[in-house]
């Protein structure tokens, strides 16, 4: 509960801040202020001052050439109205461009972006359109045409820092312009976060979920995922590992907890889990996605292992690798044959939770425990999770070039908010998926599935993705009544980049799984053969009697 030191946003731009705030620029020039950044931290943020131009603001890019003749030698029409607000690049090869162009009647045909030794055609790689009300106003246009554009590409290679790059915009008529644009350099993760935040800030005309998904489908989604994979790979390659507590014997399960944003949950889980029967056979592996808490967590774990006598491992990552990658790293350090992915805000409902879990694993048929979840409860006493099912929403978006149609998948929880003992949601049964807040998985099965997907940005949908891969590989996820509390949403903090990541993940999950879900996994009563409930003894007896 401590206040962090104030920090400028990752995409803070000193030059732009001074341009947008002339009074600050004057004060800096006169020596009254150290810098725009210092002003922003001290006053500007509180005063709501901007450090990035809004989409409507026109900043002068340098026009270095205007196309006057076409390739066939004929005279080209004058260039249209256009603008580019920013080109941002990262050392790992990320390039983020935002701007607008009046191509309502003369469609933009090509957009080549190039640097010292590279070039990319944005429209065939990743190019999306957005509404620009400011441009509409300037041009006196209606809202029918999306004048805005943005692109994010991952060039897949390390980049030298650029001072400027070149953008060539060419329309169908041959009209065009070549621009020299100053490049703002950002760290890979900051650039990713800026793109993700952009997804939230864009004026999509329609719901962000529909507009952003359409844009992501046009290439940017795959580029963001690739860029994020590269960042994640760099993070998980450098874990720092500390072990605490007794190391004798082989644990029966390894509880892997990914921590982000709040360090308190380590000592809370230690205290609330450790005293229960059966926990002496378990180990905790905490994977920290918030390096700023590293020292605090190491101290807490040292105390926790001394006080509770539990075996624990702390895996410190240098940055946020996201839920999937963090759990996969944690699994590498597990000393047992069972991986239990557990959210930091999950706590025992019954003190002997571990004993019940061990008993289930050791006595139930193997196919029912290869991968399973448990009922989760709110602290209010109501059920929050009794397995998951999928629903598909088909969304439509009218845009230049035709109607965009896409299936989006909603992942729903059985029994959310239901009375605590609602048998229909608690009975052991195969389900389409279980929440990643708690997944117990046989280690060899977890490894055979390749662990959690690391394609999802930060977190969300990896759980359903893992369950669907398990189903695809022939093993249905199960739900067993070993209850836990889940203080949903309280375990970590969420900013704009995280909100944007939700859009990317929703798009990714839908594009990856919508077709499979339509084929037998759709709805509250999916028809997939592996999800058929085994016949109960009374039902079997009744059937025999009928015969």
């Amino acid at each position: 509960m401590s206040d962090a030191e104030p920090a400028a946003p990752p995409d803070f731009d000193e030059t732009m801040y001074l341009q947008l705030n002339p009074d600050v620029a004057e004060a800096v020039a006169a020596g009254g202020l150290v810098s725009g950044r210092a002003h922003y931290l001290r006053y500007g943020a509180r005063e709501g001052r901007r450090y990035l131009p809004t989409p409507g603001e026109v900043r002068e890019p340098g026009v270095i050439a205007v196309i006057t003749t076409r390739a066939d030698g004929s005279r080209a029409p004058p260039p249209p109205a256009y603008w580019v607000e920013a080109v941002r690049m990262s050392p790992g090869g990320g390039v983020f461009v935002t701007g607008w162009i009046d191509d309502a009647t003369d469609k933009l045909a090509e957009a080549w972006l190039s640097g010292e030794d590279w070039e990319v055609e944005l429209m065939t790689t990743a190019f999306a359109r957005t509404r620009r009300r400011d441009v509409e106003q300037t041009l006196g246009a209606t809202g029918a045409h999306p004048y805005g554009f943005w692109s994010f590409v991952d060039l897949g290679r390390a980049m030298r820092r650029h001072a400027a790059c070149r953008l060539v915009l060419t329309q169908a008529s041959g009209a065009g312009v070549t621009l020299e644009i100053g490049v703002r350099s950002l760290a890979d993760s900051d650039l990713r976060d800026a793109v993700l935040a952009w997804l939230i800030e864009c004026d999509w005309s329609v719901s962000a979920h529909i507009g952003a998904v359409a844009g992501l489908t046009d290439g940017a989604g795959a580029q963001i995922v690739a860029h994020n994979r590269r960042i994640t790979a760099g993070i998980v390659a450098q874990p720092q590992v500390e072990r605490f507590g007794p190391a004798q014997g082989r644990p029966k399960a390894s509880i892997i907890v990914c921590l982000y944003g709040r360090p308190d949950y380590l000592f809370l889980q230690n205290a609330l889990f450790a005293g229960g029967a059966g926990m002496q056979d378990y180990e905790f592996i905490y994977v920290c996605n918030s390096p700023e808490f590293a020292d605090r967590l190491a101290r807490d774990m040292r105390i926790g292992s001394l006080v509770h006598g539990i075996r624990q491992t702390l895996v410190l990552l240098p940055a946020n690798a996201g839920f999937g990658a963090a759990n996969n790293v944690g699994a590498r350090y597990a000393n047992s044959d069972r991986i239990v992915a557990c959210n930091p805000d999950v706590f025992p409902y019954h003190a002997d939770w571990a004993r019940r879990h061990t008993e289930a694993v050791e006595t139930l048929p193997a196919e029912r425990t290869a991968l399973f979840g448990v009922p989760l409860y709110y602290e209010t006493g109501a059920l929050m999770h009794g397995g998951m099912f999928f629903q598909i929403d088909t969304v439509h978006l009218s845009r230049p070039g035709g109607l965009f149609t896409q299936d989006l998948v909603r992942v729903q929880h059985y029994g959310k908010g239901a009375p605590p003992d609602t048998a229909a949601f608690l009975r052991p049964r195969p389900v389409a998926a279980v929440t990643g807040a708690f997944i117990s998985c046989r280690r060899d099965w977890f490894e055979r599935l390749g662990g959690f997907s690391e394609d999802y940005v930060f977190g969300h949908y990896e759980d359903a993705d893992l369950c669907l891969r398990s189903l695809g590989a022939g093993m249905a996820p199960w739900l067993h009544d070993i209850r836990l509390y889940h203080l949903e949403g309280a375990g970590s903090t969420r900013g704009r980049a995280q909100e944007g990541a939700l859009l990317v993940n929703r798009w990714l999950f839908a594009s990856r799984w919508a077709a499979s879900i339509r084929a037998g996994l759709h709805g509250i009563e999916p028809t997939h053969a592996l999800l058929a409930e085994p016949e109960t003894a009374p039902a079997r007896a009744a059937r025999r009697k009928r015969r």
């Binding site: 809370l268 205290a271 005293g275 105390i303 001394l306 006080v307």
Partner: protein, 419 residues
Amino acid sequence: MKVLILSPGHPDLVAGEGPSVAWSLFEGLRARAGVQAVLLASVDRSLPALFKPGAHITAFDARPDEYVFLSHDVDPWWHRNGEPLLVEAYAEFLTLIQPDVVHAHHFATFGLELLTLTRRVLPHCRIVFTLHDFLAICAADGRMIRTMDGSPCDRASPVRCHQCFPSIPPEQFFLRAAHMRAHLSAVDVFTLPAVAMCGAYLRWGLPAEKLVHVANGQQPPAGAGAPPAKRKLRNRFGFFGQLVDAKGVWLLLRAVELLRADGFSAFSLEINGDNLRYASDTRREEVERFIAAEEARPRGDRIVSFNGSYHRALIAEPMARVDWCVVPSVRWENSPVFIPEAFLFGRPVIAADVGGQAELVAHERDGLLFRFADARSLADTLRRAATEPGLWDRLAAGIAPPVTREAMVEGYLALYGAK
């Protein structure tokens, strides 16, 4: 039998019920044959000279069996100790001392996990915990007063506590309670100095079979027991305690203002105590304004005098100058040690009609109760006490001898041996 007493402070260094009772018990046990008592009292950074470099637990002032726990990094919300070296030092201390009984008188300055650690290091020792207040239940410093309207609170819940602290979501209170209970589960027996506290702790979830009432007992201070001097008028009131918000001196001063506004000034009030610096800004300024205004009055018009701090060993003198003792606390007191002390000097007590204060003071028998946190009710009670003929004599005659230290020690010894 070796008994380790964990005290939230050393009475030579800090005032308060916990340290006072822990000390009284320590002295009482030391006087018993066959019992070795060891005191581990926490001290905080307000006494930096006691913090030896690199040390975490040290002997206190060259006294046998008295140690200090050099407390720091105890989180005021979760009440957990965040310093591994301190926790490790405590484990080592237990190993060295090897007590049969660990009797804790609070967790706030030690950290809750030391209870669980005690059970782990000494699996067979008996852990006794005296609940001197409601801090385990109530995040508002254990006051059990609802912050939004000042009304008394009888139970905590995530939503009710969230109403008191709107910026903290309900699930944090759920976790606070769960974390608290997890560590308190290491305790064998909880003792409560007031029967009135039992209901709240039962509702909070402590098992009934672990709850035992053991009344606080103290050795009488010097001068106690002497009959009060005969006087015609019984219109002198005394306040003894800390000048922090919860102790309600501000409420008492408001009552004085009301009486003065009513035109009644035939009484005096002596304020004995300090630590006004720990009061909230609002209350401190209110008290300071009153003091300044009082001192600006002609000497003959003054009603209230401020005597500063007092020491328990020398309490007979200020006690001799008052007829009544007033306990105006604006919280549920549990078993304030001062009330039996007033009775030891034969002074009837005026207190609020809630909690442990209402349990110790029998209305119309050995004192008077006024409506909780109600300055008008207190003012009316003061006026009645100062003016009603024969009231003081009747109530003074109704005072029964308070619980002795020996009775308290007997009560605890029964628990120590009754594993």
